[in-house]
Every structure is written in structure tokens, then in C-alpha cells.
Point group: C2
Chain length 447, copies 2
């Protein structure tokens, strides 16, 4: 095989790194399931026309064609790889509506693909972990509060492995839209997009654009900037907004929701969820709450978990399904934790015990010991050859396997050695157990 | 969204079906890890030239291109979706050789894609679960015996959920090649391919082809057919082959290996692994043992788990890496178990307890109960609305949630109801536990 080299934007992990990723995925899975989310997987492909329905990402789509296919022009039935898990989930809901029970809470952990230019924290293939709740009529607001609470609970669990704390920032489309309407601005979407540039071009740049591009007066621009400057964790954010002297029924509704959300979150997961009224990204297609999450101390990485509420997550023409969801960028997170050496695995293999082989003739004795250990839930491997003992121990040492088992010879019993301490004790495969912390590889803060 | 319909060859599961698939995957994962296999995942794409190196499957490859890409002609750096997990694993081994420890035992559970015409048991997107051992020098034979033993152990675990027993058939390239050379046949590959047609065209058809296409004499054809008729589970297969009066050093070597394999398997997993000398599929590219697995009573489904030994799994030009591996066709297996109603999940959600809500004002009381249960590892959900009690119970009943929790009112304590039996008892969220069999959805034989 020629030209073996990594492909930019398609990250792969070494075995010990995969153990870290896998631990994070199973933590998310466990927390999602404890909250009543059921798993689905969808196929990797969708018809191009469905992918393009969410227009702005069209440029990033990978299309498929068979090597032997005749035509190379994209046709209406051309398939593309999904670029998120929301579009396929919406299609799945419509396709299976008669067989699902609503409100339907699902989680989905799969790879997605985007033909983007790879850069730090951006990949062409990456793993996402999504939760969504979709209803076939009304979707109660409390699910909008549930999203960041579930995510904060999951990330809290990951603190134990050395993951930094997260900050989940929330806003509500109704607040921004109601406020802009209240001050007489017409170009809501345009204003949202301009406000989104705040971090990049600063308040002066934004003020200028609001006036030149979004038809705002000097006073309207000031008011929009004042709104974007508000943040907090309790009902004082509503006071701060009202102090700007703008009133509109949608604004009131949005403020009530936003306060409800941050107060519910403060009770359940204190110190994680903040209202931040400058968050605009996503507000132009979400219709209620919107979420962004940063890893504290790693803000430049961008959001590692985003989402929001759609009044129309899916629609089959007759019926519309409102939904709310949030998506963890697993690869972005794992990549940062690994590349900055924040988190590590205690070994690169599940094996807890290597059973030594004295002689190839006696391999079956060692195999029997390994089988007895496995039957009791202890991962065991047998030495590949009856090499010198030093070499067999080195085999274990290189992989971080903590124990080497010596089958008894000449009427002596079996013994097991902790190769870290050198301690060697008599043992029987039917009763011996490693310390709990050595049973499986652990994922821990790197030192 | 228009034209919502399933795509032929791209299977998707409903939530309760995914629970079945997920159970099977985690059983495989657990057994693989107990045997010391470490997990890796590889990217979904490989350069086309690498995919084509395994020539015969070229017609099945899905190529990728970006929607906005200029050129549509396949170029040397065109990417395609992997059609198995062996080609990417071989590339991964070469790419990371300096960072892996050999012999390297890995498992890999991922989707693969083939542009095949979909039919029963054949899909365009499907899940495979592979184990392989690769060495950077000698690969000891005992790993060839390990493959079917690990797989038989995993499938044995799945008998508990109603999966039928499996029959693993093995053969050895050295036996066939040594035998053919011993009787003076030159066209080894051609003969293997003709013998592979035995089930389709019968012995008379095969005899004719061996003579007309593979240059066999009448006697040579008879001998090849006699070899293919031999099967068994112990050293008598070697006696049967030797009774044919052919001798060749490679034949002797192959017979010794084949007998060692079936005898090791008979000790560890009795009654599952059989030598079957008519198995030819794969022998033209494998170099030692080869495996095929049928689900007893479902032979027409084809092999659900196949593999074998390569002397050259991977090579970087300087160094050659021998390997042996086996691959479970998870989707083919799951699809059969589901569509023939052999296996089912006891419910369609992880939720064990639905906490009722008396009044929207009191939702936080119910949320606190759910949080307490979750904190103790019990999956809990809170009723979506404070609807009439009958409706809340129906919500649980439809999803198969076994318990509904009633928060205490008017100084009364909480109570929990088993909605199957109707039994309702006082309970506290800090101490109550469901019966072990109700804690998570179970996967069981369908009745």
C-alpha cells in the first residue's frame, strides 16, 4: 500500500485515546438514559434535497456515487452524508410517526460529515451526541429547561476525569425579537446576524452595521447593543431588560421563559447555566431557547454543545412537530482533552491479567486459567509465546497490564504478580480478584 | 419535506429494535474485552486507490465528492467509504506501527457501506464487529484457534436472548492447496473457486468444470470432490484425508493445524466448531485457517461471521504484518432476529419510573423525586403535563414503563405503583429500588 498518511480533518485515535473517547460516550449515554432518553441511530445518508432544505450548510455536503455509476451529475435522488443528526432525526420522526410515542425523547450518538476546510476544532468527520424531545402538538416549555440541565449533569460527571468545568449560555429568540419589534426594528434576522458579530468586530463595528445594513436609527442601535450587554443567572436579567424601557408582549413572554430556565438550572446544577443576551447564533432559525457551551479556560475552542428550540422541527405537510434539542461535539471535546494532555487512560488495553506460558506444550493450562478469570468478569490474555519470563513481563508492562499470572509447576500452586509493586502472592483463578481500580482501564486526569 | 420513505438497503430500527441491536453490540464488546481485545475506530473513508487494492470489491465502492467540488472525475486522491473494516485496519496498523504493541489485538465495531443491490441479508449500509490479531513478525498459530472460540463464546451468551445456536465451519488453505499439489493440480486458485460452487451446482457440475476449466483429469476431479466431502470435529478428519492416499508436506502441515483448531475449540466451546473441507470461499486470498458461521435453522441467510488468516494483512513495503481476523455481520444477524420475531425488548425506553405531576405548579416536586432516583441509578422521567392521572398512566403504559410514582399530597407520603399488577405501595425516592429485572429494558426471546 502506498501513500499511507493521515487525512486532514478525519481524526483517529490510538487505543489508549479511544478508551478516553469511549468513556466520555458511555458517560453521556448513561446520563441520557437516566433522564429517559431512548437511543436511535439513523442511516448515514439522506437524499440531497432533504439535506439542502437547511440551506446555509449546502456547501459542506459530501455526495455519494457508486464507482461504477453511469451519470455523474447530481440528480434529485442523489444521496449525501448527513452533516448533523437533526435533519435525519426530523426525517425519522415523520417516517415513523405512527410507531413513536410523543413527546418522544431520543438520544443519538453518531459520526457526521462536513466538507469544510479543517482547522483547530473543526473536522470533516466527527462524532456528535444529541438529545432531542419532539412533540406531535404542544411541546411544553419545561423541556427547554431540561436540555442544559441534562448536559450540565453529564459534564459534571466528567469533571472526575479531569475535564474542565463548562459554562452553558442561554438566550431566547422571543426576547431579542420582542425587543427589536418593541423598538420598531423591522429587519429581525439581519439584526440578529449583525449582533452575532459582536465578539469579532466589537460594539462600534456592530453599531455601524446596524445603522447601515439593518435600517436602525442611532437610538435603536444603542438599544440593541444595551440588550446584548445583559447577562445573569436569575430574575435580575428581566429587571435589567425592563430598565431599558422597551415593552412588547413577545419580549415579556421570552423574559419569563428565560428566567424560568436559569432559575430551574440554578436549583438543579448551580453555577453552570447563565443567560447571555448577546448570543445570537442560531436565533435566526430557532424559535425559543438557544444554548451554547464553552469549556472554561478553552473559550477559543468555540461551543462544544449547542442547540435550541424549533417550533417546527419536522413537518409532513399536514402536521408540524415542535422540538428542542442540544448536541455535544464529542470529537471537538475529546480532541482538546487529548491534545492538551488533560485526560489519560491508565492503560491501553482492557486486559487486567496476562497469564504466562512456561512452555508451548502447557499453553492449555494457561488458557484454562484465562478462561476461569474471564468467566468471573476479569479481562485476561495469554502470553503470545513461551518466551523468557522477562520478555513476557515486558509484554504486560508495555501495555500497562497490571498483573502477570504464573501457572503452578512441580506441585506448586499458581501465583500472581503485581508488576508495578513487584508483590507476588499465591492465587487461584476461581477466587482471586484484582483491586476494583485495576479491573478495567480507568480514565483519569493527566498529571 | 417531501418524499419521506425508507431507502432500500439502509436499514433503520425503531427504539425497541435498537435496544436489541445495542444489547448484541455490548455483548460482543464485553466478550472481546474479556479476551484482551482493545477497541479502535477508523475514519469512514479511505483513498480510492487503497480500497481498490482489494480488487474484487471495487464495483461496490461509494465514492465521495463535495457538492461544490469542481471536477467530477475520480482522481487518485478521491475518497471512498470503506466496505469492510479490514482494509482500514491494515492502513491504521501501517500508519501507527511505531505506536502500537505487537501482537496487537483489536476490535472494531462500525458501519460499512457497499453499493450492492439490496436483497435479503444484504445491505448498502451495515454494522460489522471485527476482531483481528496482527503481528510484526511471526503470528503464532494459536491465534487462529482463538478467533472461532471468542466468537462462539459471544454467541453462546446471546442464546439467553433467544438467538439460535450457531455452527462455525473451518477449513485451512494449506490442506486444500497441499492436497491439490499432491495430486498434481496446477490451477490452485481456479480449483478453489470451482469447489466453492458445490452448493450451487452440485458435484456433477463441479466435476465437469474442474475438468474443462481447471485442467483436472477425471481422477484428480474425483479426488478433489472426495476431499470436499470430508467434515468432522476431531482428528478423524485427518485420518479421512489420509485415507485418500495423497501426501504433501503442506497438506500435513494444514491437517495438523486444522485438527489442533477443532480440538482446542471442542474443549473450550463444545459442539460449535466443525472442520468442513468444502469451504473454499476466501481460501483464494487467505493463507491458513478460514471461518464461516451459520445460524442453525437459518442457513439460507448465509454466513453471519467470516474471516481467516492472512500472511500479509498489511505491508509497508519493508515489513509485512501477518494477521488473523473474523467479522460479525451484526446488521444481518439483528435483522433476522427482529424480522422473524425471535428476540424482543421488554420496553421501548430506558425509563423505569414515570413520576406523575399533580399540578404544573408542583412540577419541581416531581423533578426532585426523579433527580433522587436518577442519582441512585434508576432511569426516571417526569410526566410531560399535569394531565388527568389516567392519561399519565397511559403515557407509561404505552412505552412499557413499569412504575408510576405519585408524589405525596396533603401530608401523605409518596407512593409507587406497578402498573402491570396494580400494586401500589408507600415509597421514598432515597431508598426504593425496582426489582433488578425492571431496572433497564431487557432483551429476551420473543414468545
Amino acid at each position: 500500500m502506498s501513500r499511507i498518511s493521515p487525512l486532514s480533518g478525519f481524526p483517529e485515535w490510538l487505543p489508549n485515546q479511544r478508551i478516553v473517547e469511549s468513556h466520555i460516550v458511555s458517560t453521556l449515554r448513561r446520563i441520557f438514559e437516566l433522564h429517559g432518553y431512548t437511543e436511535i441511530e439513523t442511516r448515514a445518508v439522506e437524499p440531497l434535497e432533504h439535506l439542502l432544505a437547511k440551506g446555509e450548510t449546502s456547501k459542506e455536503v459530501y455526495l455519494l456515487r457508486r464507482l461504477q455509476e453511469d451519470s455523474q451529475a447530481p440528480e434529485s435522488d442523489t444521496l449525501g452524508l448527513h452533516f448533523d443528526l437533526t435533519v435525519p432525526f426530523a426525517r425519522y420522526v415523520i417516517e415513523n410517526a405512527g410507531k413513536l410515542h410523543f413527546p418522544f425523547k431520543r438520544y443519538q450518538i453518531q459520526k457526521v460529515w462536513r466538507g469544510e476546510r479543517p482547522q483547530d476544532g473543526r473536522f470533516r468527520e466527527f462524532l456528535q451526541a444529541d438529545i432531542d424531545v419532539v412533540a406531535d402538538g404542544e411541546l411544553p416549555f419545561h423541556y427547554e429547561a431540561e436540555m442544559p440541565i441534562v448536559i450540565a449533569t453529564a459534564f459534571e460527571q466528567l469533571r472526575a476525569i479531569g475535564m474542565p468545568p463548562v459554562k452553558i449560555s442561554v438566550n431566547n429568540r422571543k426576547v431579542s425579537q420582542g425587543f427589536y419589534q418593541g423598538i420598531g426594528l423591522d429587519d429581525i434576522e439581519g439584526t440578529l446576524r449583525t449582533i452575532d458579530k459582536l465578539d469579532k468586530i466589537g460594539p462600534d463595528g456592530v453599531r455601524e452595521l446596524l445603522i447601515s445594513e439593518n435600517g436602525a436609527s442611532e437610538e435603536q442601535a444603542e438599544a440593541a447593543l444595551a440588550l446584548a450587554a445583559i447577562s445573569g443567572e436569575d430574575s435580575r436579567i428581566a429587571d435589567d431588560v425592563r430598565a431599558l424601557g422597551v415593552s412588547h408582549p413577545l419580549l415579556d413572554e421570552g423574559l419569563e421563559e428565560l428566567v424560568r430556565l436559569v432559575e430551574a438550572a440554578a436549583q438543579r446544577v448551580p453555577g453552570v447555566v447563565h443567560a447571555d443576551l448577546k448570543i445570537a447564533r442560531g436565533l435566526d432559525y430557532y424559535t425559543g431557547s438557544v444554548y451554547e457551551t464553552t469549556l472554561v479556560g478553552h473559550e477559543s475552542l468555540g461551543s462544544i454543545c449547542s442547540g435550541g428550540r424549533y417550533d417546527s422541527l419536522a413537518s409532513d405537510g399536514k402536521k408540524t412537530y415542535p422540538g428542542v434539542g442540544i448536541s455535544v461535539g464529542v470529537t471537538r471535546l475529546v480532541s482538546r482533552l487529548l491534545h492538551q494532555n488533560l485526560v489519560t487512560a491508565t492503560r491501553s488495553t482492557p486486559t487486567a491479567v496476562l497469564v504466562a506460558v512456561w512452555d508451548e506444550e502447557d499453553r492449555m493450562v494457561s488458557e484454562n486459567i484465562a478462561a476461569a478469570l474471564r468467566g468471573r468478569g476479569i479481562a485476561a490474555d495469554v502470553s503470545p509465546t513461551a518466551a523468557k519470563l522477562g520478555r513476557q513481563i515486558r509484554f504486560a508492562d508495555r501495555r500497562g497490564i497490571p498483573f502477570v499470572w504464573f501457572p503452578g509447576r512441580d506441585h506448586a500452586g499458581d501465583e500472581v504478580k503485581d508488576i508495578r509493586s513487584g508483590e507476588q502472592i499465591p492465587a487461584e483463578a476461581s477466587t482471586w480478584h484484582p483491586p476494583a481500580e485495576d479491573l478495567t482501564p480507568r480514565v483519569v486526569a493527566a498529571e
